[in-house]
């Protein structure tokens, strides 16, 4: 395991494991995920749908759906304090003020019967004992920051388009200028033109407020544009992590290579893109060897010998969970 994890990191996840139960079977959503985040840094969590990205995000704010969670293990440290062991009062203090979240689907993320301004002011008022007027002023200030005129502050979510709603969600998340912002696929539900606007907005606010951010996405383009560090997740495990340059310049783990191979390349046209064969593994079963074995083009006997829960360092800060790392170039 990376041993040189320094204490100065703002937000650190250590060996996080989350299991759900559905009907009679147990779903292994996240198994032994670890990463850390420095102040002002942006980490990209990349992976296919169902790889457990959203579970990690929701676990860190402890807003997993009560009725279906089976077990949560490991530690999530914020300034050295483990969120999983926090009592309700500490948890409430943390949410919104220190860590806040942007949700994927703006259409349902806002309360349809409350005005936009009141939903933002409510969050701010919770953490800063102030009068309602002050909270409203802050809310209008945030709305203007995300490009929504003050005249529309008293309107209801259904009067806004998808893109506008996402801006409101962003304003809501950043109302108390949190230290860590978790963005769970903020632009997936939006069309491309709006996507670019929202991403610029997030980047601008991040630089302005100096918030550290965990960006969850399955779009490598967004990662290249926004993130400093990247972790690639497959079947609930980080299979490769490192700086953006490490991952984009020399992807090491076969799955990461597969991801890049599947991308259309502008320079040369290819009759057919090379997808990764097979389907993501069934999360309700646990596999003895590397999860990517069945789909990996380089699978061989050595894979069975490889200790699945260890990662090998390719270069300082760049790790890959595959025995072929560093042995010889793919």
């Amino acid at each position: 395991m990376q041993d040189k994890m320094n204490q100065a990191s703002l937000f650190q996840v250590k060996n996080l494991t989350v299991e759900y139960h559905s009907g009679d079977s147990i779903i292994h959503a996240v198994s032994g995920v670890s990463f850390d985040l420095q102040p002002g840094e942006t980490l990209g969590l990349v992976g296919e749908t169902g790889a457990g990205k959203t579970t990690i995000a929701r676990a860190s704010l402890r807003i997993l759906p009560e009725y279906s969670v089976e077990r949560v293990d490991g530690e999530i440290l914020y300034n050295g304090e483990d969120i999983l062991k926090m009592n309700d009062a500490q948890l409430r203090k943390l949410r919104g003020e220190h860590i806040s979240m942007i949700f994927q689907d703006p259409m349902t993320a806002l309360n349809p019967v409350k005005t936009v301004m009141s939903q933002i002011a409510e969050g701010y008022k919770e953490h800063h004992k102030c009068t309602q007027a002050e909270a409203n002023r802050r809310a209008i200030e945030m709305l203007e920051m995300v490009g929504i005129g003050a005249d529309r502050a008293n309107e209801y979510p259904h009067q806004f388009s998808g893109g506008m709603k996402q801006r409101v969600v962003i304003a809501l998340a950043l109302a108390c200028s949190p230290k860590v912002l978790i963005a769970d696929e903020p632009t997936t539900a939006l069309d491309v033109t709006i996507q670019a606007q929202v991403l610029d907005l997030i980047k601008g606010l991040r630089n302005e407020l100096g918030t550290a951010m965990i960006l969850i996405t399955h779009d490598l383009g967004i990662v290249a544009d926004v993130c400093d560090k990247v972790c690639v997740i497959y079947a609930g495990r980080i299979v490769e992590s490192g700086t953006k340059e490490d991952i984009f310049d020399h992807p090491t783990h076969p799955y990461t290579q597969g991801l890049f191979a599947a991308l259309p390349d502008l320079e040369h046209d290819v009759p057919r893109l090379k997808p990764i064969e097979g389907l993501p593994p069934d999360p309700s079963q646990e596999r003895r060897f590397c999860d990517f074995l069945d789909r990996c083009p380089h699978r061989c006997r050595a894979c069975k010998a490889f200790a699945k829960d260890s990662m090998i360092e390719v270069s300082p800060g760049h790790y890959s969970r595959c025995w072929r790392t560093g042995s010889e170039e793919a």
């Binding site: 079977s25 147990i26 089976e70 069934d282 596999r287 060897f289």
Partner: protein, 323 residues
């Protein structure tokens, strides 16, 4: 090509011992008791098999079914197992409280309450079921037509249903009994008619939900005739919510028929229908309470079991309760 290397599945028992369990820490709730590794063949939620499986798990529903089965069996066997006929009349033994000779006591005419109640079950069940069947059939047709054609037809059917709903069911049933007279068949007709709006609304809502689904448009594109679409696609898909409504309507009919007898309409006295027995015995409630409690209890048990079954089916269907 790399030789055939395949992954292996780790059995959960084997896996359990190497991870210590920390239930407290994980704020999740304990999962279901038994877990077996073998994957279950996935059953389409909403299909009857899926509904049946979750209903059979529901303890309330099982209790309801057992009670119902017991009552039906006793009712069918009553002429043979009871010592007295339901109309055997012996004035010297009137007002007896439950004793060995008459397990549930006797009424003001000395008739054995046990045999009357068991025999009477057939009236309440027959009335409940046939009336519900009638309102189900008529209601579904009306709802299907209103939902599928929409527009003018829909709004005028809906206005008609509002009209129906405006009248308290009891007043409507009473007007009906007044028009066509009292008796079992008239009671069934009255309850049947008053049950129609419930089914029609349910069916219409179902149709509207399913109609805008893609596969209905698909069926239309291959010019499959309207009636075929309704029969093949729409009605099978709304079977489950209809079952819930059927269970609820049967239990409601049981109550309404007893209220009708209370007002002197509905089923007439010599026939030992529970509602009639209950309303006839209400003036003895203070001196011989057993005459009121016995039929009342049986009504509660039957209506309760139908309700429990209906609830179980509703929970099985209700997507929001999936965990």
């Amino acid at each position: 090509m790399p030789e055939e290397i395949l992954n292996e599945i780790v059995e959960p028992q084997e896996r359990d011992h190497d991870h210590e369990r920390n239930g407290k820490h994980g704020h999740g709730k304990r999962g279901h008791g038994h877990r077996h590794g073998k994957p279950k063949e996935s059953v389409k939620p909403g299909s009857l098999k899926y509904v049946w499986r979750s209903v059979s798990h529901n303890k309330g529903a099982v209790a309801g079914m057992v009670m119902l089965a017991a009552i039906v069996i006793l009712c069918v066997l009553s002429p043979y197992i009871c010592r007295y006929g339901y109309a055997d009349f012996n004035i010297t033994e009137w007002y007896q409280t439950p004793n060995w000779n008459h397990l549930l006591g006797t009424d003001q005419m000395g008739r054995d309450l046990l045999s009357r109640v068991l025999y009477g079950a057939r009236y309440t069940l027959v009335i409940g079921i046939t009336a519900t069947a009638m309102s189900a059939v008529l209601g579904i047709l009306l709802g299907a037509v209103a939902g599928y054609f929409g527009g003018f037809v829909d709004s005028c059917v809906m206005r008609f249903l509002d009209l129906f709903q405006a009248f308290p069911t009891l007043v409507l049933a009473m007007a009906f009994c007044a028009v066509f007279g009292t008796g079992v068949d008239k009671c069934i007709l009255a309850l049947g008619i008053t049950g129609i709006p419930g089914f029609a609304r349910l069916m219409r809502a179902n149709i509207l939900r399913i109609a805008n689904m893609e596969y209905i448009e698909a069926a239309r594109t291959i010019n499959c005739p309207t009636w075929k679409t309704i029969l093949r696609h729409i009605i099978p898909n709304s079977v489950s919510p209809v079952i819930v409504e059927i269970a609820m309507t049967i239990s409601r009919n049981g109550l309404t028929s007893s209220s009708l007898s209370f007002l002197g309409l509905g089923v007439q006295a010599p026939k030992p229908e529970w509602g009639a027995m209950l309303s006839e015995a209400r003036s003895y409630i203070r001196d011989y309470p057993h005459m009121v409690i016995v039929p009342g209890l049986f009504i509660v048990i039957t209506v309760l079991s139908f309700n429990l079954i209906g609830d179980a089916f509703r929970d099985a269907l209700d997507p929001t309760l999936k965990d």
